[in-house]
């Protein structure tokens, strides 16, 4: 890898799958036996982006958007249909040893831990497979133990661990070789709120300590807002946004959210002249107002009604992204 070169470089990546279709029922099965129908699914369709060293980037999109496929191409599991991919100066699909020693892919629902043994056994196996020297292994394990509070979990059979405990051990197994690039696919899926927060803190701390580059997919926006300054959004395999999380709302949601508490009730008709009424209770109202007219409408409101409190915010990020997907679906 040349100095100054991005750690991850994706250039016009395409990955198509051939999918077999058949009608349900016995007749469908019989027809399919003699005549197979296939279509091509464009899981990833001509996307380009790059990540610099030490960045944590959120990779977002609805189910089936192509996020996991992209991560699998980047980690070398899948061969690209077209386009160029480079990670740390390597072509991932070649799966060279020096490349695999510097990356990791953590999938929330698939695991590498040996189910019937304590996680410590998988750690020892990884130590040899990744050729980690004894001193470095001890130091890394101690650090992971400190950050993830592994303690007694390491000596318990993996199948006896709770989902959250298992995820902690999965992360430890995936990071023992101190990878420089982390691909995290839904690392907090299915975990309770406390455990989600712990995993998030851990990821942030790992990034701070080791300067690792992290590409993360998650359906939990709390993961993304806590960890990522930049997000890449894909939909139907195509890239639709790549930029700061903060400006996503400005660029894509044409409104701001006014939450107002009144001293006395205000008729709905009055509020409808100021903006779109989203929530209307006796003294508390939520309005969507055009972004460029926010100041003007807020001033009108203050002049027309007795206001006790008012807040002006960007719409929640979940809502912004949901709006983007809805618009894309509608064409």
């Amino acid at each position: 890898m040349h100095p100054g070169e991005p750690v991850i470089q994706v250039d016009r990546l395409k990955r198509y799958y051939r999918v077999h279709h058949r009608r349900p029922g016995m007749w469908g099965a019989l027809v399919s036996f003699f005549h197979r129908e296939y279509t091509y699914v464009r899981a990833v369709d001509d996307i380009s982006f790059s990540l610099e060293a030490g960045e944590i980037v959120g990779f977002l999109g609805p189910n089936g958007a192509g996020k996991t496929t992209t991560l699998k191409v980047l980690s070398g599991l899948l061969y690209p249909t077209a386009g160029r991919v480079s990670v740390l100066g390597f072509e991932p699909f070649r799966r060279e040893k020096d490349f695999l020693k510097q990356i990791t892919l953590v999938m929330g629902q698939k695991n590498q831990l040996i189910w019937d043994l304590p996680a410590a056994d998988t750690f020892l196996l990884n130590k040899e497979i990744y050729e980690i020297p004894d001193d470095e292994y001890r130091a890394t394990l101690a650090e992971l133990d400190e950050l993830l509070e592994l303690g007694p979990l390491m000596t318990k059979q993996v199948r006896k661990l709770s989902l959250g405990e298992r995820m902690k051990c999965e992360l430890a197994a995936a990071l023992l070789h101190r990878p420089r690039v982390l691909f995290l696919d839904e690392p907090t899926i299915g975990l309770d709120v406390t455990m989600q927060a712990k995993i998030r803190e851990f990821i942030a701390e790992y990034n701070r300590r080791h300067g690792a580059t992290i590409l993360l997919t998650s359906h939990y926006m709390a993961d993304v807002t806590a960890l990522c300054e930049r997000v890449i959004i894909i939909h139907h395999g195509r890239l639709i946004y790549d930029g700061p999380l903060q400006t996503l709302a400005e660029r894509t949601a044409p409104y701001k959210v006014l939450t107002i508490t009144f001293r006395s009730p205000v008729p709905r008709e009055v509020l409808q002249n100021l903006g779109h009424v989203v929530q209307y209770e006796a003294l508390r109202v939520t309005l969507h107002v055009p972004r460029e007219e926010t100041a003007k409408r807020a001033a009108q409101l203050l002049a027309q009604a007795q206001v006790e409190d008012v807040t002006i915010e960007d719409p929640p990020i979940e809502e912004v992204i949901a709006t983007i997907f809805r618009e894309k679906e509608a064409g």
Binding site: Y17, T68, K72, S75, G76, L77, L78, Y79, F93, R95, K97, D98, L100, K101, I103, T104, L105, M107, G108, Q109, K110, N111, Q112, I114, D116, L117, D121, T122, L124, L125, N126, K127, E128, I129, Y130, E131, D185, E186
Partner: protein, 265 residues
């Protein structure tokens, strides 16, 4: 090289620990494999009036008792699992490691092998000691030839099953092919019937096919049924089959990982 040995040793240690987790299952599985005992009973009865195809009653006992242990030592049944791992994307974690995944499949069954010895070896020794006419060739040179023949047998069994399982990169169901291989092996490897008892044309044909080298050859060597002068050509043919299946496996793997769809989350 040292690093490779350390890795192989680590895999063996971990899967030894895993094998011990399944102690009851292993015992049941071992004891369930009683077909050679049934066959032994049948042939003992038939040979009570005289030799059959050069096998005396004692030869049949020696053959099937050794068969009971050797089959366990040289066999693997990883094919269906590998094929399922390919189809369901469970190969992913192994593909991400800087180590060839097939090493794991090749080494995983080995730690359970020594667990067979305390179960099968005492009865074999006891029968050889107590029953007249039961002989084994126990010269040092035979042990060497037996060791090579067993390694060849395991290698062919492993590689042939692997090659068939790798078809799962393209096919929805590779298991039926593995089952077909299994049945052909059971029939022509000497598991059910010593291959010397087949018609001569079949026995001659079996010299050129892989099945004999997956079980019969080590049995023929340890029971002294194969003259020493014929060891080398037989081992040579076995090694040729190892090379063949290695080549096929290598080609299928290379093409297969390109076609891999890594399904699942």
């Amino acid at each position: 090289m040292m690093r490779l040995w350390r890795k192989l040793a680590a895999i063996l240690v971990v899967y030894w620990a895993r094998a011990l987790e399944y102690r009851i299952v292993i015992l049941i599985w071992i004891l369930a494999t009683t077909v050679p005992l049934v066959m032994m009973g049948v042939w003992m009865q038939l040979a009570s009036t005289g030799d059959i195809g050069g096998y005396s009653r004692g030869d049949f006992i020696a053959y099937y008792m050794a068969n009971l242990l050797l089959l366990h030592l040289v066999s693997t049944w990883h094919g269906p699992e590998l094929s399922r791992h390919i189809r369901q994307g469970e190969l992913n974690p192994l593909l991400l490691k800087p180590f060839h995944p097939l090493w794991i499949y090749a080494l995983r069954p080995l730690p359970t092998k020594p667990l067979r010895l305390p179960i099968f070896l005492p009865p074999i020794i006891l029968v050889a000691w107590l029953v007249p006419g039961v002989h084994y060739d126990l010269r040092p040179i035979t042990w060497l030839a037996l060791g090579i023949a067993m390694a060849v047998a395991y290698a062919i069994t492993f590689l042939a099953q692997t090659a068939l399982a790798l078809l799962a990169f393209w096919m929805a169901q590779a298991e039926p092919l593995i089952v077909l291989w299994f049945h052909l092996r059971m029939l022509f490897s000497g598991y059910l019937v010593p291959i010397a008892l087949f018609p001569e044309s079949v026995t001659r044909l079996l010299f050129w096919l892989p099945f004999r080298y997956t079980l019969s050859l080590p049995l023929e060597i340890i029971t002294g049924k194969l003259p020493q002068g014929e060891w080398l050509p037989a081992l040579g043919m076995g090694l040729a089959w190892v090379a063949f299946f290695y080549g096929v496996t290598w080609l299928l793997w290379r093409a297969g990982v390109r076609a891999y769809t890594a399904v699942g989350a």
